[in-house]
Symmetry: C2
Amino acid sequence: MTKTGILYGVGVGPGDPELMTVKAWRIISMAPVVAYLTANSTESTARDIAKPFLPDDVIELKIDMPMRTEREPAQEAYDRGAAAITEHLKAGRDVAMLCEGDPFFYGSFMYIFARLADRFETIVVPGVSSITAAAARMGRPLSARNDVLKVLPATLEADRLREELLTAQSTAIIKVGRHFGKIKNILSALDLISKATVIENATRANERIRKVEDVEGDSLPYFTTILVYTGSETW
Amino acid sequence: MTKTGILYGVGVGPGDPELMTVKAWRIISMAPVVAYLTANSTESTARDIAKPFLPDDVIELKIDMPMRTEREPAQEAYDRGAAAITEHLKAGRDVAMLCEGDPFFYGSFMYIFARLADRFETIVVPGVSSITAAAARMGRPLSARNDVLKVLPATLEADRLREELLTAQSTAIIKVGRHFGKIKNILSALDLISKATVIENATRANERIRKVEDVEGDSLPYFTTILVYTGSETW
C-alpha cells in the first residue's frame, strides 16, 4: 500500500522572496507538487514569490478562482482544488500549497485545510505577515509595551471601523484596495489622518509608501495596508 | 575615512530555527557582530534560536538587562547597549541585533532603533511573529475574511481586556506569564473559555498546547499566548 502524502500550507511571506522562511524554502524545494490559487489561470502572487526556489521538475497544480464576489463559485473552486490535491496525496506525493504572507492570517489556505486536514497529515508553516513587513519598511514599531493592536479589514462598515480605531493604540487596516476613499474619510473625521501611513505592495519591487493625507483618489491596489499609530512614542 | 557599518534589526522568529527567514540567515551569516539582550549575562532566547547560523568567529555583544520592572535601569541598559553598538558601526562593522519573533512586534529593538536609526543606516528584517506561529501549531486559522483581530497584552487592566474581547472575532493575548489566573477568570466570566486555547513556547522543544479550561494555577511561562476565536467557523 502506498503511504499517503503530506499536505503543507506554506507561508511565503509578504513579497520579497528572501523573506521566506528556511522551512518554507526546504519544503518547496523537496515537494513533488506545488499548488496555488490563480486568477484567470495566470497570475499568482504566491508563485511569483516562491519562483526562485521552485525545482524545474515540480508538478504545478493551479486552482483557478472565479473573479466574482459571490460565495458559491469560490466554494466550488475550492472543492475542485481539494479534489485535485487529494489525488496527489493518495498517490503518495506531498503537496505544498503556496500562500502569500501567512496561511492562517486572513488567508485562503483555510478553505483547503477545512476540506482535507481531517483526512491527511497537514502541516502549516507560518510566514512573515504583511503587517510586520509594513512596519519594518516604514521604519517604525508596529506595537509596543501595553499597546492594543487591531487588524481591521477595510471591508468592514464605517461605524465599526470608527469604533475600533478609537480604542486602539495601533491599527493595521488591511485589504484597502477600493475602500481607500472610505478609510481616508474616517481617519480625517477622527483626526487620525496625520498618524496614518499607507504602503502598497510591501517589500515588492513596486512598493510605495506615503502619508495617507498626501494620497488622492478612492482606490489603491488590493495589497495595500494602512498603519495608524496613536500610542506613546517615548521609545 | 572608514565607511560606517549598517545596523540590522533581525527578527529570528518564534523559536524553531527553521522559521528564520532566508534574509535573516544571510545577514546573520555575514555580519561581523551580533548583538542581543541577556538576562543576568547568560540567557538569550534570540541567540538560542539563531545559534545554528552563527559563524564561529562572530563578535558577540551582550546587552545585559536588569531584571526589574522599573523603567530607569532598563533605559540605562539600552543607553549602554547603543553606545557599544555605535563603536562597532563607527569602526565600519555591521551589527545584527537578534530579536525574537519580529523586531517591531512588541519587541525591544525599538529602544535601540530610537537611539541609533537617525545616525546610522538601519534595516529592519521582519520575522514570523508568535501569534501566527501559535495558530499554525494549533491547526486553526488566526483570522479570516472580515474578522477583527486584536492583540492584547495580558498586562492590561481587566476592564480593558473584557471590553476588547467582547468586540473581537479573534484575539491573541500575549505575554500571559503570571497573568494567567486573571485572564482565565475574565474568559470564564465572558463565557469565552471554551473557545480559548493556550500555547507555551510555540514551535520550541518545550512547546505545550492545552485548552484554557483544562489548565490549573495562576502562572505560566512568559512566552505563553492564548488564542480566542469567536468568528464564524463556516470555512
